[in-house]
Subunit: 432 residues, 2 copies
C-alpha cells in the first residue's frame, strides 16, 4: 500500500510540477520526435562558450577532490568579494560571501532561513513562488505595469510597508536587474529611491544581479551602492560566464546580515555540503577576471544588443509593445494592443498564447503567467539565445569593438533567432 502511487506525498509538493522552463524544453523534445522543426526560445542559457581561461582552470584543478568548506573555497570567496568591491564599489571581504551550487538553491535556503515576508515584484523569475510553496510559505507579489517598465517603484514599496498595519515586519524584497524576464534594468534614480524607502522601513534587499555583466552597454550599477548595509547581492557564473550547467552561485552579504549568512551556511551543511571543488577552483579564474574575459563580454554584449533591438523592432511592427532591451537575453513583449484580435481567435491569456505559438508556429516561449503575471495578460518571454554562440563570437572577434556589427551579421549568425521572432510575429499579426 505504501509502495503504491501517490500515497504518502508531502502536500507542499503536490501539483508543484517541474519548473515551466524545463517543462517547455521537454515539450520541444516531444514535438521534434514528431518531426516538427521547433525553435526553442524558452531557455535562459547563454549561447556562448565558457571563456577559454575558465575551461583551462577547470582542467588544471580536475584532481581536486577534498570536501571544501561549506561557505566556499576561501580563494573563491575572496575573488567574489574583490569582484564586487571593484565592480560595484561595495566594501566586502571573503567573510561576506556564501558559495552555492547555483543561486537558485541559495534563494531556497534564504526563503527557508528568513522568518519574515518575501516580497517580489512581478514579472518575476519562475522559481520564487514554487520555492515558497515547497516550504509551506507564501510570497507577497507586487504587480508592476508595462508603463512602469515592469519596475517596482519606491512609492509602491512605501505603500506596502504602510498598508499592512505592521510597518516594520521583517521583509526581504527581491529585485532582479537586468531582469528576467523583462530584459530591462533600473535607472540609478530608481535605485536610489528604492534604497531610501528600504532604509527607512528596514527592509532587506536581495539584489539578484546574475545578469549584471550582460548589461548591453556594460553599465550595470548595483543598488548596494546606495544601501550597502541592507543589500545582499546574488551573482554567479551561469549567465555572463555561460556556465549555467556548472552550477555555481554566490551571495554577498553586508556585515550586519552575518546572522543570516551563518544560518544559511548551517542549512547548507545539512543539504548540499559544499560546491564541487574543481568547479570552485575554476570559478576563481572567472571572478578574478582578465582582459580576455572582458573582451569576450564586450563581444557578447554587442551581439545581444543588436539582435535584441532588431527582434524588438519586429515585435513592435507586429503589434506588440516592448521596451528597449537593456540587458540579459530576454524580451518580454506585451500583446495587449492587439488583444481583441487574439481574443477573437479564442486566445484568452498568456498560457494559451504560448501554447498556440508552439503548436501552430513551432516556437517555444514562456507565458507571462509563469512569471506570476495575471492569467489573462498577453505577455510572454522569448529568449534570444538560439544561435551558435561560438560561431558568432569568432565572427565578432574579427570586427573591431568600436565598430558596429555590419549589415547581414545577424542574418548570417543569428538566423534562427530572427526566424523565431518572425514566426511569433506571423502568429500574432492581425488576421482578417
Amino acid at each position: 500500500m505504501n509502495l503504491q502511487k501517490h500515497v504518502s506525498l508531502n502536500l507542499n509538493l503536490r501539483g508543484l510540477g517541474e519548473s515551466p522552463t524545463l517543462a517547455m524544453s521537454e515539450r520541444c523534445r516531444v514535438l521534434r520526435t514528431e518531426g516538427k522543426e521547433v525553435l526553442n526560445n524558452s531557455i535562459g542559457q547563454s549561447p556562448f562558450p565558457v571563456p577559454n581561461s575558465v575551461v583551462k582552470a577547470l582542467k588544471m584543478y580536475a584532481r581536486e577532490k577534498t570536501y571544501l568548506p561549506v561557505k566556499g573555497l576561501p580563494e573563491l570567496r575572496n575573488a567574489v568579494a574583490d569582484y564586487h568591491r571593484q565592480k560595484d564599489g561595495i566594501d566586502a571581504s571573503a567573510d561576506n560571501v556564501l558559495i552555492g551550487p547555483g543561486s537558485k538553491i541559495l534563494m531556497y535556503l534564504l526563503q527557508m532561513s528568513f522568518y519574515g515576508e518575501i516580497v517580489v515584484p512581478t514579472p518575476c523569475w519562475v522559481s520564487y513562488v514554487p520555492q515558497a510553496q515547497l516550504l509551506g510559505r507564501q510570497v507577497k507579489l507586487i504587480n508592476t505595469t508595462y508603463e512602469d517598465r515592469w519596475h517596482l517603484s519606491a512609492d509602491s514599496l512605501t505603500e506596502l510597508c504602510e498598508s499592512e498595519h505592521d510597518t516594520y515586519r521583517p521583509r526581504i524584497v527581491i529585485l532582479n536587474y537586468p531582469g528576467n524576464p523583462d530584459g530591462g534594468t533600473y535607472t540609478v534614480e530608481e535605485l536610489k529611491n528604492i534604497a531610501k524607502v528600504a532604509r527607512k522601513y528596514e527592509v532587506i534587499l536581495l539584489s539578484d544581479e546574475i545578469y549584471g555583466e550582460l548589461h548591453h552597454r556594460g553599465e550595470h550599477v548595483s543598488i548596494a551602492n546606495y544601501y550597502s548595509e541592507g543589500t545582499i547581492i546574488s551573482s554567479g557564473i551561469s549567465k555572463w560566464c555561460a556556465a549555467g550547467g556548472w552550477r555555481l552561485g554566490t551571495f554577498t552579504f553586508p556585515d550586519n546580515l552575518d546572522w543570516l549568512l551563518a544560518a544559511m551556511s548551517d542549512a547548507a551543511s545539512q543539504t548540499y555540503t559544499s560546491v564541487s571543488s574543481p568547479i570552485q577552483w575554476a570559478g576563481v579564474t572567472a571572478f578574478k577576471g582578465s582582459v580576455d574575459i572582458e573582451r569576450y563580454l564586450w563581444h557578447a554584449r554587442r551581439i545581444f544588443s543588436k539582435l535584441s533591438n532588431q527582434c524588438a523592432e519586429m515585435l513592435r511592427e507586429a503589434g506588440a509593445r516592448v521596451h528597449d532591451p537593456e540587458g540579459a537575453f530576454y524580451l518580454f513583449p506585451d500583446f495587449t494592443p492587439i488583444a481583441d484580435n487574439l481574443e477573437k481567435r479564442g486566445i484568452n491569456g498568456s498560457v494559451e498564447l504560448c501554447d498556440r505559438i508552439l503548436c501552430e508556429n513551432h516556437v517555444a516561449t514562456i507565458p507571462g503567467a509563469a512569471f506570476s503575471r495575471p492569467e489573462n495578460e498577453f505577455t510572454l518571454r522569448m529568449s534570444y539565445c538560439n544561435f551558435d554562440g561560438s560561431k558568432a563570437l569568432a565572427a565578432s572577434e574579427a570586427i573591431p569593438l568600436h565598430e558596429d556589427l555590419p549589415e547581414g551579421f545577424l542574418d548570417h549568425y543569428c538566423a534562427k533567432t530572427l526566424e523565431s521572432t518572425k514566426r511569433i510575429c506571423d502568429f500574432v499579426r492581425p488576421r482578417d
Copy 2:
C-alpha cells in the same frame, strides 16, 4: 531592526549549528594555529586519489556547459542503472535513477517529499536528525546495541510496526552498510530477515550503500536482492571513487516508487536544478567502471583492511570493545568495559571523551552522541584515513594482490593513523 542579529530566523534553524564533522575540522584548524600537532581522525574522506581515468574524463568534458536534465544526464543514469544491475543483481533502467549533488541533499529531498515516518537505527549518520529538524519534522530512532553489532534486527522492526497502533503507517527505514560510523555490515541472513518484515508491513527501505565498494573483502550484498520492489539504493562517487568534493550522489528507485522519484525530481528542479555537467560526464566513467578501477579498489581494500584490523587490535588491548572491521573507513570503539576508569577522571559521556582526547592527546574523533547514541555512552568514531593515499597506493601496486601486505607496510605508509590510535589508547588506558 530587521537588519540586526538573530531577529528573523526560522526556529527550525536556530541552534542547528554546523554538522559535527565539519565543526571538528574547524577545532583542529584552531588548535593547529596554536602550534599543536593535531591528528584529524574525524573526517570521512578517502585518502586515495580519484582514479586516473575518472580525472581524465573530467578534463575531457570540461567544456560541457549546458543545463542538464533535472533527473540527470541520460548517459549517467544509464551507467548507474547498469552498475546496480551488474553489481547488485537488480532490475533497473535509466528511468529508475535520480542524480543529485551528493547523496546528502537527496536524503533531504526524500525527507521533504515523503509524508510518513523516517525510521533510523542508531548509531546513524550525523545528518538525518538535523535534516528532519530543518523540515520541522522528527525521525524515529531505534537504538541498537554493541551485542547486536549495532544492527537493526528484524525483531525490533517488527516490534516497531506492531507497537504503534498504526501498523501500516507510511514508513521509510534507512539502513547504511557497510556502515558509518560502525564500519560493519549486515550478513545476508540479516538482510533477508529484514526484507521479510519490510515486505510484510510495506515499509520502504532506503539502503545507503555509499560504502558498498569499500567492503573490505569486496563482498557487498544489497538488500535490494531480497526486497527489490521496496528498496531505494543510495550510492555515489564520494567514497569508493574518493571524489567526495566533487558532489555526485545517486538514488535508484524500484518501478513502483516512481511517484517518489517524480516528486523529488520536481523539488530538485526548484532547488539544485541539476548536477554540474562536467562532473556528471566524469561520473559516467566512474560508474561504467574498468579493470583499472577494480584494481584500484582492491588495493584500497587491502590497505583499509590491514590498517583497520591493526587499529582495532590496539583499541581492544587498551580496554575498548570493537567489532572486526568489515568495510568503509571507520572504527566505532565502545569504552564501556573501562567506563569506571573514565568516570573517575570526570568523563561522563562521549562528548567529554572526545573533547578530552582532542585537548590532551590531540586526536580529533567524533563522539557517539553525534550519531544519536545516548549521551552517557562511551562510544566514538575514528576514521582511519589520515595517511597519504597516493603514496600507499603506489607502494601497494608493487605488491601482487594475492599476497598480504608485508610487515612494516603500515608503519611506513600509515604511520599517522597508527599514531592516532596509539594516542587514543594512551588516553583511555586505565591509570593509577
